[in-house]
Structures are given as C-alpha cells and as structure tokens.
C-alpha cells in the first residue's frame, strides 16, 4: 500500500518489456467444437483484443497442417505468445509445446484453452451461450498468455553410484541388478549378515523350495560382486542433498573383532560361557555372546554381543587369528551417491502384548515364524516340530490365520502372505509326519498368484482341514497343556469345541521399528498403515515423492518373495535411468522466492511435503531447493508476504485469468 507500492520495481527481465504479440488458434476439432461453437465469431472477437496479432481457425489444429499453420504464423507475425483453444491440455499440451519450441519459442509461452471438453461437449444445445463462453475462456487465456514467462527445466548431475538400504532379498536383488549394470553399490544392512527375513524361512511357498538353498547362492553372489560393497552391521545415520548427489553418513557398529582377520571358524563361540536366546531361531535355543549369525551368513564373520558379554576374554585366547578387540568403537563412512533404494523390510506382528489366542499365556501357542524355525533342519530341534510345553511332537495342530491382520483392533490390512504360509507349513509337517492332523481356521483363503491355488488344493488332498471361522475362546488344559478352542464353523453354521496339541498363529506384517528413522532420513511419507508411501500406488509403485529415492519390498506394503524381488529389480531399472543419463531433469514449474520480500517467517516450511524449502538462518530468508520442488504451489498460498511465487502459476497470471472471466455489459444498440 503506502510503503513501497508507488516505486516502480526494476523490470525483472526483457520478457516484461517486450511487446506481447499473441496468436490465437481456434480448433474446430471436426464438428466436436465447430458443430456447437461459432468459431468464426469467436476468432473475430478475440482478434479485437489488445495484443492479439492474428487469429486462425483450423479443422484440426493438432494435425500436421494445423501445426504448420501455427509455425507459419509465428514466423509471419513474429508472435511471442501462442494460445491454442482446442481440447484438453492434459492430452495435447505437450504436442503444441513441442510445436512452438521448434520455432524457437520457449515452450512455456503456450497457453492452452479447453473449449471442447469444458465447452462444446457440455453445452451441445446452447450454441450461443457456448460461443459466448468460448470467447470468455479464450480471453482469459490471452490475458494469461501475455504474462507468461520463459522457464527452463533444469538439470542436475547424477553421481553414478547407488545406496541400497537393507540387504533382504529385495535389496540384494536391487544391488545385484545395479551392480551388473556397472554401477557401484553400497549395500547397507543393520544385521551382522545380509539375507534378511528370507534367510530364516524353512521352505518357501508355493513350490516349497528350501529357502536358504536358493537364497544362499544369491548372498554369495552379492558378496562376490566387485561392484557391491557390503556394509553389514551398519546403519544410515544422516542423509543430505537431493537427487543426483545424496551425501550419506553410515555408521558401522562395532563387532568387537577385526573383520579382516576373522575367518568365521567359530572357535570363539565354542569357548564362550554365555548363552542367550537365539534370535535367529525366534528365541528358540541359544547362541553364545560371541557367535556367527548362522552357518550361511555373509559375511561369514563372528560378532560379539557386548550387551551380554562378561568380558572373560576366553574368546581372545581361543582366537587363532587374534581378531578380537574389546575396545572397538563405532566407525563412520561418508558416501556420495546419486540414488537411494530403500528396502528396509518389516517385522511380523507380535501377539505377545495382547495375548492374542493365548499367546504368551499358554506354552503351546506359537507363531508361524517360530513354527518355521522348528521345521528347519538347521533349527533348534534339527527339524523336529515339538511343542514347547513338553517337547513332544504334536499330532493335532491348529492354525489360526489373520492374527494381527484384517482386524480393526490391530491392523486393518491383509498381510497378503499368511494364508500361503499356513498352507505351506501344514503341508510340510503333514509330509514329514503323515500321522499329524491339521486344521486351518481362517476368515478367507486368499490365493491370488501362480501356483497358490494349486498349493491350496494339494493341502486339501493331503488331508489338511479348513475351517472357516475364528476361534472365540482359547484355553489351556492345565494338565495336558493341550489347547482347547471354541470356534464357530461358519460354513456348517455350528459351534465346534476342538482340542489341539499345538496352535500356530499366522501373524501379520507390520512396520519395522526403524522405519520412522528411515522415513525421516529420506524425508519420505508414511501411509496410514505405518508403512512407507510410494509416489503413486499404481503408476509409480517403486518411486517416492523424493526424486532419486526408490522403495522395494515389504517396507511399502505386504508382498511375497517374487513381488519383492521384482520390486528390487524395478528399483534398479528406475534408478538406472538416472544413473545412466548422469543427470536428472527437475520440474520447470517450481516455487521461487523473492529474497527482497521474504521476511523469513518460516510459514512455508511445514507446507512442503518434499522438504524443498530450507531456511537460510544467516540471511533469515527461505530458499527453494529446485531439485526437490515438485511445483505444487502450496507454499505459495501459505506465504503471507507474497515473496513465494509459483512459476507459470504466478499470482498475477492466475489473477489475469480471473479478471477476464468478466466483462462490461455491452451498451444496448
């Protein structure tokens, strides 16, 4: 108002000064527009608007001849703005942008007016009013066109190195594919060994292959690949930068032994006096305070669990290669990478706190993951499934599905894999010990992919019973420790009282504790289910809202192994586009700050879901990191000073359109 208002601001660029020469091209789209809107009357009216140097009506402006007309007129009339009044910019804007760009005009000097979908097609019986509306729409477009400014989509260089966080099967696949395409990959895994969840499975559905037998070679392949640098027992601590150049700080947790010297001989474990529950076996059996994670571990190196170590130094004496070092501190590596793949995995639902179906109260209620380890030949029982109360091999086994899934009280989503896990587990035990009797209590059996339905049928043929119903009461027989289940068979419409030696809960999939940290580090968004969000659920399933960051595996929703592996490969493919081109194209339409006007109030910062706005604390001004900005303009709306503007949708450009919706009433003749 008063203050600075009167002072004419210095002209921003030549663009503001030059005379605006607008050409307007009205398309008839055959009869689609021409059959309703009087295109000639429209063109005649628009021709009288200030700045409009030529108007032209074409049967099909998008045709070769239509485009040639535009190009001819640009030259003939020395046009510097082009308005095309035709169909939808959503389909045809790129065509005409390319058309005017060929003539040396900036592609953003095109204004596209929709007089078909938004006019002729919806006012088919009101030709006069449709014609008037078309005039309004084009007038709005012309006035906006005069204010358009040239924009350049900018490029940022991309470092041709990748970071993969999480070395489960999805992460490994991603790393391998990227490495095989010739890019250097840092593969960070927080556990002492790569392999992830799949390394703990016994057999994998629907073909029931031995899990570690197929995963083991892949782990070795990863270790052998000279382009992959495995950083096991390590965590990402800080991520700075944006697509093309992420600066990542990785912490290597101390193993308390020299990895280069350790041979993985496990002599240290033999002498270690401390025994703790073996997490790899889901807490069944024990391991030592110093231990090799599992026989197929990669890297095959021991790790000292300092929390449980009693510092007796027995291991130091036993170690022939003198690898053990009690004074080890965490070390750090900084890496610069162009892209990041997040394959951070999941954990299974823990029924303990809620005591779902007696879990945690009754010994003979276990989870499917625990059952998996009991089945495994390398497991705590050497592959003998026994029940925890008395170590007897159970005969009657009951399986409960959807524990911690499809349940308003826990997680509403379906874990996707539990039906098949249960079917597989029942099959495996039945095959091992045909005398066993299996009942699967389910809500629905979901078998959508190749081989799943066949596997289900095989179970039925093997004699596994399927009961549609959810246990309503689960009790332990205090003497036998058998589990008594009261369940409604909803197909037979009757209440059944059953007794089992062992109950196996098919627990669902939930986000990892570490997911929040990864979400914050990578500035990703989280969905309502607590898992990470992809850029688009259908069309960009492995991209994220942050350019150069991709997601694979269960971190972005429950998946089976083939799906997770595909995503690993998909991430590698998507990432390769950036890594191979060595550059990323950033959005031409972005927010921009006028530092003279910005007062550094910081209102814009929380508006941006892409963390593209940073506060320059020294200057007390907001800064837009163009490479991160997606050009939604939400920050621009929030800015109280008007220092923030969205290029191509500047306030003055939008206001010009609004003002021209209206006109003075004509004087009656």
């Amino acid at each position: 108002m008063s203050d600075n208002k009167g002072i004419e601001k210095p002209v921003e660029s030549k663009v503001d000064q030059e005379e605006k020469r607008v050409g307007v091209f009205v398309c008839e789209c055959g009869v689609n527009i021409g059959g309703v809107v009087n295109t000639k009357a429209v063109a005649d009216y628009i021709g009288t608007l200030p700045g409009v140097k030529v108007t032209s009506v074409n049967k099909f402006t998008c045709s070769d001849s239509g485009q040639a007309d535009i190009q001819k007129k640009i030259k003939e009339y020395n046009l510097n703005r082009v308005v095309v009044a035709a169909c939808s910019p959503k389909t045809h804007e790129p065509t005409f942008r390319a058309c005017i760009e060929q003539m040396g005009l900036n592609q953003y000097f095109l204004e596209f007016v929709n007089i078909r979908d938004h006019c002729s097609w919806i006012h088919m019986w009101e030709k006069e009013k449709a014609t008037e509306k078309a005039k309004d729409l084009i007038r709005m477009g012309v006035e906006r066109a005069k204010l358009l400014e040239p924009l350049q989509a900018s490029e940022v260089p991309v470092i041709d190195k990748a970071l993969v966080i999480g070395a489960g099967v999805a992460g490994m696949q991603s790393a391998l594919d990227l490495a095989d395409m010739g890019f250097q990959v840092y593969l960070v895994e927080k556990e002492p060994s790569i392999g992830g969840r799949m390394a703990r499975f016994d057999k994998v559905f629907p073909t029931n292959d031995c899990s570690i037998c197929i995963l083991g070679p892949k782990m070795v392949e990863v270790a052998r690949n000279k382009n992959i640098q495995i950083m096991s027992y390590s965590e990402v601590k800080a991520v700075e930068g944006y697509v093309g150049n992420f600066n990542v700080k990785i912490e290597h947790k101390p193993r308390y032994l020299d990895v280069a010297k350790c041979t993985g001989c496990a002599k240290c474990s033999e002498v270690c006096p401390v025994e703790v529950p073996y997490d790899f076996n889901e807490g069944f059996g024990t391991r030592k305070a110093i231990y090799v994670p599992f026989p197929q571990a990669v890297p095959l190196r021991a790790v000292l669990d300092m929390e449980n170590c009693i510092s007796c130094k027995a291991c130091t004496k036993a170690c022939e290669s003198k690898a053990i070092n009690y004074d080890m501190k965490p070390s750090y590596t900084d890496v610069n990478v162009g892209i990041i793949v997040g394959a951070v995995g999941f954990k299974t639902y823990d029924p303990e706190p809620r005591h779902d179906f007696g879990y945690g109260l009754y010994d003979n209620v276990i989870t499917a993951m625990e059952f998996e380890r009991l089945l495994n030949a390398a497991g705590p029982t050497g592959g003998h499934v026994v029940r925890p109360s008395d170590c007897k091999e159970p005969i009657k086994v009951g399986f409960v599905n959807c524990v911690g899934s499809r349940d308003k009280n826990t997680n509403i989503y379906c874990s996707g894999v539990c039906c098949m896990v249960t079917i597989k587990n029942a099959q495996l035990l039945k095959e091992k010990r045909p005398e066993t009797d299996h009942t699967i209590m389910y809500m629905d059996i979901r078998t959508p992919f190749r081989g799943y339905e066949e596997s289900y049928n095989r179970s039925r043929n093997l004699g596994v019973k399927f009961l549609r119903g959810r246990p309503v009461e689960v009790k332990e027989d205090p003497v036998t420790k058998n589990i008594k289940v009261r369940v409604e068979d909803t197909l037979a419409n009757e209440i059944r009282n059953l007794e089992f030696d062992l109950i196996v809960l098919a627990t669902g999939i939930v986000p990892h504790e570490g997911i929040n940290q990864i979400q914050q580090l990578l500035k990703l968004s989280k969905a309502a289910d607590g898992l990470l969000m992809e850029a688009h659920p259908k069309l960009k399933p492995v991209d994220t809202t942050i350019d150069g960051v991709f997601l694979a595996g269960v971190a972005s929703g429950p998946k089976d192994i083939p799906y997770a592996v595909s995503q690993g490969s998909a991430c590698a493919g998507r990432a390769t586009i950036l890594l191979k081109n060595k550059k990323a194209i950033t959005e031409g339409i972005t927010a921009v700050v006028d530092p003279d006007v910005c007062v550094g109030c910081g209102v814009c910062l929380p508006m941006c879901p892409f963390q593209a706005i940073k506060m320059d604390e020294k200057e007390h001004k907001a800064n837009v990191v163009k490479a991160l900005c997606k050009g939604c303009g939400t920050c621009v709306t929030a800015c109280p000073t008007g220092a923030l503007e969205q290029s191509h949708f500047k306030n003055k450009q939008v206001l010009a359109q609004i003002k021209n919706v209206f006109k003075f009433q004509e004087v009656a003749a």
Binding site: M1, S2, D3, N4, K5, D596, V597, V599, G600, C601, G602, V603, P606, M607, P609, M615, H620, A638, C639, P640, T641, G642, A643, N651, L655
Partner: protein, 383 residues
Amino acid sequence: MQKGDMFVGWSTKEDIRKRGGSGGLVTSVLAAALDKKLVDAVVVLRKINEFEAVPVITSDVNEVLKSAGSLHSVPSNFAKIIANKNLKVALPAKGCDTRGIIEQSKRNAVSLDNTFIIGLNCGGSMHPSVTREMLEIMYKIKPEDVHGEEIEKGKLIFETKDGKEHAITIDELEEKGYGRRESCRYCMIKIPTNADLACGNWGVVGDLAGKATFVEVNSEKGAKLLQNAIDAGYVQVEKPDEKGVAARAKIKGAMEGLGKKWKDKVFVPMDNRLEYFRKELEHCIDCGACKTVCPTCSCGDVSKCTEYHLRGDAYKMSMYHLIRFLHLADSCIGCGQCSDVCPVDIPLTRLYRRFANPMQEQLKYEPGMDLRKPPYFEAKLEV
C-alpha cells in the same frame, strides 16, 4: 525460585519507590537486568508528558530509572519495536504486548530465548485524545493540570497539580463513550500468565498496599529475571499474604466477568453483515497503518494484502481488508492498535474480532497465549 511461585516485592531504591507506582519493582527488575548484563537492552517509555511517552530501546540504566511510573494513556504495543532486532532484551509488557511478542516469535521475528517479558496486569488503557476530551468534558479539568492518575475500586481518579483528586466510575465514563479503549473493555487477558513474570498491584494488601508489586513467576526465565534483581540488590521480595492471593484472583475474576459482558454487548449477532462491513470500510484511504502497527503481522512493506490491493480496482470490498480478515482470523489478539491508528476511525479491531471470535473458538486457538503455531500454518488441522 521456580515457575508458579508468587511474591510481593518492591524496589530497594527509594527514589524509584517514590517515582514508580506500586513500589517500583518493575523498573528495578529492568534496571537490574541491564546492570547485571542479563540483557543488552530494555524497552521503556520515555515520558514526554502525562499523555505522551515514546517507547525506546535503551541500554542506559538512567533512562530506565527515569521511566518509572505507569501511564494509562499511552496505548502502545512493544512487539513490533523488538521484532527483527536480534537483541537480548527485557521489557515490560501488558497482556497484549506479550501476545504480540509471542506471535512474532512464531514468525521467526523474535527469539523468545532472548526476550525477558515482564508482564503487567492490565485492566485497560486509554487513548490520549479521548482522555483529554474526557478530562475537559467529564471531569471539567484542564489536561495540562493533571499530575497523576490511578484506577481504584472501579473508579478512574485524576490528581491535579493542586493536589486534589477527581474520581468518576469507569462504568459511567464508558457509558458516555470515554474511558478505556474499546478493545480493552472486552479483553480477557487481565493477568499476563503468558509472560515470564506477571506483575501488578492486585493482591497487595495491608500495610504494603500501594507500596509493593505482586509478582507471579510464570517461567524459568521469569525466575532468573527476578532472582537476578534480588541478587543484584535492586529488589526485595516476601511471600504474599493468603488474603492477597485471594484478592488478586477475585479482581481477576471480576475483570474477566466485565470483559465477557462487554464482549457480549459489542458482538451482537447481526443481519445484513455485508452491508455493515461495506459501510464501515467505505472511507478507507489505503494508508496501510493498521497492518504496519499490527503486532502479529510479521510481513515487511510488501505483503499479499498490499500487493494485490490496487487503488485502481473498483471493488465493493477491499481486497486488502479481506486478506487481512483471513490472515488475522486465527491470529488477531484484539489489542486495538489498528483502531487507534486508523485515520478515518474505522473500528477495525471490532471488525477483525467479528471474524476472529468464532474462528478462534472453533479452532480452540488463543493466539499469543502459548507456542502453538497458528492453525493457518498447519499442514493438517486437528481440532
């Protein structure tokens, strides 16, 4: 000393006690903060006469000591004076000053860590022009003859140079359109619990009445500030009388009740509101003073409300005011500064409150009372 503690205190310096009201505690706390380098500067009113004082930022202890004494007819707001100055500063502040400062801090213009706010209990202030007219018409005394002023038991008392006291009840004055500024009448923040200290004469009873200040410590910073003044020998305190604490609460309750009554009286539901607003705003001359003075606005000279309001636009409503109405719906603290400075006497605060009252109620948001960011700045609204 900790948050929640209450004291009754006074200056140890006799001249300050004499000059300042209520034992000169506030002046002494400010002086001590400056003296002991707790702050780099303080804001005080440089008194010109009974009706005029100009707020200044100073590092001069003498200037601080000179400023002692309260003025009801100097309705300034200090928030903008310290905004964007990057100073370690202490200042006396009414409820509305404090609210303004806190709102500025939410907009990165003030660092609360560096700002020591000595809250002053406030029953309301008066516009100097109105006061002059009131003196002549209601009190029948010449403004030049006024020597001092005081509010006691619902009466506004002026002391003239001849030593005489002239008292009229505030109710009567306000009935006639004089007395407190309108925004003060319906203000509900009488004891600034949002400041680091809350000081005032309410709750000082017995022998100390009129000779001491009641202080409530509202924050750690407040404790530090008061302790500093005690340690530096500027101030003495003692525990307050139970009766005093009760009396203070009672006055607060009564004042708030009165505020509520005024609020209901001023903001009666209205038909044909568009015409009302149009009529009120039709004399606007686009000076922008209401924005410049607004203690919650942190924009510079250029802002959305000014840049997109063009004098060449012939609208039925002013774009400037519409944007202001919107931006202030959650943030207006009702300080009345905009009405004070409007050159064509538009009752702006009343207009802003028309939008702010229902909005702030709905959002359960009280601007300037805590550190919650204005809802307009939120990415997702959870009410």
